[in-house]
Amino acid sequence: MDLFSTKVVRVDGATVIYVEGELDMATAERLRDTIEPHMGPHQTIVLDLSGVEFMDSACLKVLVLARGQLTADGGSLVLRNPSRSAHLLLTVAGVEFLLAEDLDEHPQSD
């Protein structure tokens, strides 16, 4: 039973990671392992959450740490297209600011 999968695409200088399935304590490390190879100075990583069927707070640490590192190195992490479950978690956790309506063309502007 595989509850989690990702697909990585390079688009316009950014890394877009399509996340599908369930994000919880069983899969949070796999999300981290997927993100990490694409970290680096001035890198923009976009997580597309449209395929997330469930998401709980176990993955917040991964997201917050990745965003912190990327931002410190002049890059950014943005989440887009949250599914209903992803939107619920991000909203109730108070981290909607991680969401972007569109891919940020100017990641250093924030």
Partner: protein, 190 residues
């Protein structure tokens, strides 16, 4: 089957009993929507033993989804209850001890999710002191507190139980966490 023997009343009753018997839970109570065949107002309880490992939250979510699928809860309320369940079970796995058990109780007005684990100490559970040192647990329980109007912890000799209740016909009562809480979470994680 002797349905045409002139004992139609008895036969009908027998068929009805057979039908009812067939709908009784077999081995996996989690898959049985008992709440749909009981008269309203009669509480139904589903108890599921969970593995003491990373699979537990997903297993618990499946069980809760099976129970509430036929309830009057809105889709949003169902999603919230599934999230609450996942958070409580995650806490039990990270901070608690074996055995971990999920109990879902439904009546006409409420659905209550309870997660028991084999550690009777309640101190890993932060009640009101969300900003205490128990960072991970505090985070999950913040979410639970934001998603439900009533939750709590009770302890017994060899276990503790964290519970949360959702009103079946409740309007959306979700109160998002304050922005400062994320800073606290982030500060704790780094």
């Amino acid at each position: 089957m002797p349905l045409g023997t002139g004992r139609s009343k008895g036969a009908a009753g027998w068929v009805l009993r057979l039908f009812r018997r067939r709908r009784k839970p077999k081995t996996r109570m989690s898959e049985h929507p008992k709440n749909m065949i009981r008269p309203p107002g009669v509480p139904t309880t589903t108890v599921v033993s969970l593995p003491y490992d990373l699979r537990a939250p997903a297993r618990a979510r499946r069980s809760v989804q099976a129970v509430i699928a036929g309830s009057q809860l809105s889709e949003e309320a169902q999603a919230q209850l599934v999230l609450i369940t996942s958070e409580l079970v995650t806490n039990a796995i990270v901070h608690g001890a074996e055995p971990v058990t999920l109990t879902v109780t439904c009546d006409a007005a409420h659905i209550t999710v309870e997660v028991a684990d084999g550690d009777p100490r309640a101190d890993p559970v932060r009640f009101r002191d969300f900003d205490g040192p128990s960072g991970y647990g505090g985070r999950g329980l913040r979410l639970v507190a934001a998603l439900t109007e009533a939750w709590g912890v009770r302890t017994e000799a060899s276990s503790k139980t964290v519970w949360a209740t959702t009103k079946v016909d409740a309007p959306n009562t979700m109160v998002p966490m304050s922005p400062t809480s994320l800073a606290q979470i982030a500060g704790r994680l780094v």
